[in-house]
């Protein structure tokens, strides 16, 4: 059962940051609660103070900023809002496709993108795709704002680069220029994805000009495999299709998935190989 706590409901981000600075270790940030409330119920976390930031102004919008050509998603945007957002669909259909698969509709209705990223659960979807997108994470404290590359944001299992007194306010997703095709695939035998792959490929005259291959759920955080990305540059679509399985093998060899009840290390590698080769096929098809 959850122990009583002091509840704070700040109306502005400044107020929220001030509260977090004031209560430090004793406080936890509550957004949707789909992870935190479970931890509190199971006594895996405790908080004398809960700072409910859902009332904070300006953190629940999705907008595309033409000047920066970036989609700006407020930290409090729910998975469901993102999933059904016309703006997101127009600029990032793959993002919408991914969000549609997160957990289940009940969790998507209240779970937030910010909360999901801050929890840094390795078996989660958004982080993998956002890493492929090269997203940036804006965080704020009483000392000011920082913008982190998502690759620096994720540190380890359930650990991010957030300082004790920082709150994630926004996720920035830079739009990919034209001629990109992408795929997000996941292997989910249980409740949470066991393996995930996000692939983005830029094409020029039927040849791969650039590629971003990210694996998720196979380690403490999503990981890009630069050697493979570099090797794909300059390859023709047909070549990539023919070598799909080999590329998948290279990706699976480059990662170190942990064994668990959903599979041995070898099997997880096989899944990586499969998702990558299928993802490449889709990218070539959609080019």
């Amino acid at each position: 059962m959850i122990s009583p706590f002091q509840l704070h409901r700040p109306k502005t981000i400044e107020e929220a940051c001030a509260l977090l600075a004031q209560y430090g270790e004793q406080a936890k940030i509550l957004a949707g609660g789909s992870e935190l409330i479970l931890l509190l119920k199971m006594n895996l976390a405790a908080a004398a103070h809960l700072i409910d930031i859902k009332g904070v102004a300006g953190m629940d919008t999705i907008r595309f900023e033409p000047e920066s050509q970036a989609l700006k998603v407020g930290g409090l945007v729910t998975h469901r809002s993102l999933e059904t957002s016309r703006v997101a669909l127009e600029h990032f259909p793959l993002l919408v496709e991914m969000e549609n698969q997160v957990a289940n509709i009940r969790v998507r209705n209240i779970g937030t993108l910010g909360g999901n990223l801050c929890f840094a659960e390795p078996h989660a979807d958004p982080g993998t795709l956002l890493t492929a997108f090269g997203a940036r994470i804006k965080v704020r404290s009483t000392h000011g704002e920082r913008l982190l590359d998502i690759r620096d944001f994720f540190v380890d299992y359930y650990q991010t680069a957030l300082e004790r007194d920082e709150i994630l306010t926004e996720v920035e997703i830079p739009k990919l220029p034209a001629n990109w095709s992408g795929a997000y695939l996941r292997f989910c035998p249980g409740e949470r994805p066991s393996v995930a792959a996000a692939i983005l490929m830029q094409w020029a005259d039927g040849t791969c000009a650039d590629a971003r291959l990210t694996l998720g759920c196979v380690g403490p955080k999503p990981v890009r495999i630069p050697e493979v990305e570099v090797a794909l540059r300059g390859k023709a679509a047909g070549e990539i299709l023919a070598e799909g399985v080999n590329i998948g093998t290279k990706m699976s060899d480059a990662c170190d998935p942990p064994a668990d009840i959903w599979g041995s290390v070898d099997y997880k590698r096989q899944i990586v190989k499969t998702l990558v080769s299928r993802g490449l096929q889709k990218c070539v098809r959609d080019a």
Partner: protein, 755 residues
Amino acid sequence: MSTTIGKHVERFDAREKVTGKSVYTGDIKLPGMLHGKVLRSYLPHARIRRVDVEDAVAMPGVVAALTRDRLPIASPYYGSFVKDQPVVALDKVHYAGEIVAAVAAEDEAIAEEALKRISIEYEELPAVITIEDALNKDAPLVHERLEKKPAVFGRGMKSIEHDGSNIYFHVQYERGDVEDGFRSADFIFEDSFFSAANQQYPLESQIAIVDFNGEDFTIWSATQSPFRIRDEIAGLFKVDSKRVRVVIPYLGGGFGAKSVIGAEAVAATLSYMSKRPVRVAFSADEMFKTICQPAAKMIIKTGVKRDGTIVARRSEIYLNSGAYSNSVSSIATKSCYRAHGPYRIPNVTTDAYAIYSNTVPAGAFRGFGGHQTAFAIESHTDMLAHRLRVDPVEFRLKNLLEKGEEYAAEDTPIDCDVKDLLRQLSRAIGWTPEDRKPQQTTTKRTKGVACVVKDGGGTKKEANAIVKVQADGRIVLICGTVEIGQGSSTALSQVVAEQFSCPAEMVEFATIDTAYTPYDTATNATSGVFTMGRAVLQAAQDARDRMLSIAAMALDTSELSLENGKIVCRGKAFNFQEVLHGTEIVGTGECKFDRNEQIPIGYPTPFWEIGLGAAEIEIDEMTGDIRILKFRSITDVGRIINPLHCRGQEEGGILFGIGQTLLEELVYEDGRLINPNLTDYRLPRFRDLPDSLVSVIHEEEEIVGSYQPKGSGESGILAVSAAVCNAIYNCTGIRMLDLPVKRENVWKAMHSIRE
């Protein structure tokens, strides 16, 4: 022309359940009710050196604390076959999750906090987890010798004692001479199969409220066995059973998880100590640690002739009973009896063993071992056919028992034309002889069939029923079949309504209360509609006949008929109350089975539960993922009482089968369950529904006696695993011998064949 039998009648509990008004045990609040919480061992096998609850008891709001040192019961053991399970651990804990202490407090939060203040000192002991561990020559004993009920069988079946072993029950069935049979065979094949322990997972976990007022116990419980609970609690406290009253609200599912003591013993003891009502509700996590289905290993050795005739079969079945016996000795008995399947085999020897281990106690699970033996038998049957290069369907048709043929000496003959159903099934799935050849293309789609028959209706089940016609004309059915979701209240009421030629809505199903409900063994074994149905039929006929006698006298004629809920005489229609003039009618009925020493189990099989299934599957070669594209099932229910119920039971059972085959497995590490929750224990969901699922409910015309309906509570699950595994073989040439079938194992097997 039936009035309600075979018709869709709105379920009695329908409006209540869709509006949230149906009352389950957890919805009941009693004044002054305390909340009980339980502390569980994290070690699988350990001596308890010290239990200290002083800090817990000192907390304000804590009213009672139960430990081995604070136990107001002289002999605190319960159990159906062996009284081996204590209310709270005494000198040892026998599995990780066993109850070591309990508290009752004014609210849940205090109770939970109190548990944190209990300290226990353990001395760890070596534990045995698997069947192999437990049977090892040097295996530590889970229990020292305990007093058992004598197991009495009939001809051909006997129990064999083992001393100094974790085998606490061994039953053997023999007919003919199996060695002779093997000598006469042209080929002998032996295969070994394993199915993992599963969790029944009814959505409602075990829960009980007990109110001890200083003299009597009143128990509200989500139990499938009201009278067994009454007798166990009475036994624990050494009081007459009339001092224990069990009242049954609606159950949120059972599937066997609620067949024996769950939360009742702890709740009763806490109430006894505090003299206040106590509610003990197990969480889902606790339910995983209370009961499961036994993991089962089955070895089948069959001798066949060149022409495909089966001549001999020797089987061995090993059941992992977990830390306590529960009903696994019965599962062993039934598994033993089911091992030769619905085939004509003159020479059979089967040995079934129930084995203790330091794991969650096993017990009844939908299928009661039948689905586990079915996996082995029907996989093995296909394997025999393939080795003989015979079509698996043809091979079965050659050896299947005919309608009217004996399953075992003196027992009820097979009551349906299984061969005809198998032919129907193969047509339904589109089976052709080509279907048994491995596919050449890369999209791997193939079919598999399985044909299962198991004894249905329970053994020596006793059912009693009362039908009252009250002075106000209302008909009330009083019987102990628990509404666990299967629709029994409605179906049995339809049986009554049929006798009175009245709409089913005129019949009321009384709340089950052991104070006045006549004795019923329990709700299990697909016995509701058949066994209790007969008692109900008899009671309804009795009440109807009595009412018609009174009517005859009142109306001065014997030319009466019943139509549409009224008594019709000389063109005039009378309501029942008009004719009764303030009298009440009570009709009684029973269904009991006489012992017959010639029958192996000692009692006749009430009916044969039929489960045929065929699957068309597709395998993803790169991941080993199996998708069931089409599933067709056929069951025979004798006579349909309520079509929607039959289909619901069958399809629900099929999804259980899909869980058993592809998804569900209890996993242990270091002697404890690592997946006692839905995050890591994978139940079937909407996404697991086959693309096309059709269940055919067959009605065989005449069966045993004049009362026709059988039952199908467990038929759906029976054929799924073998049908799917046979399809996997037909596609890949790979035989899956373990359940659940893991994608990884499919992939590995296909991968190694490729190399």
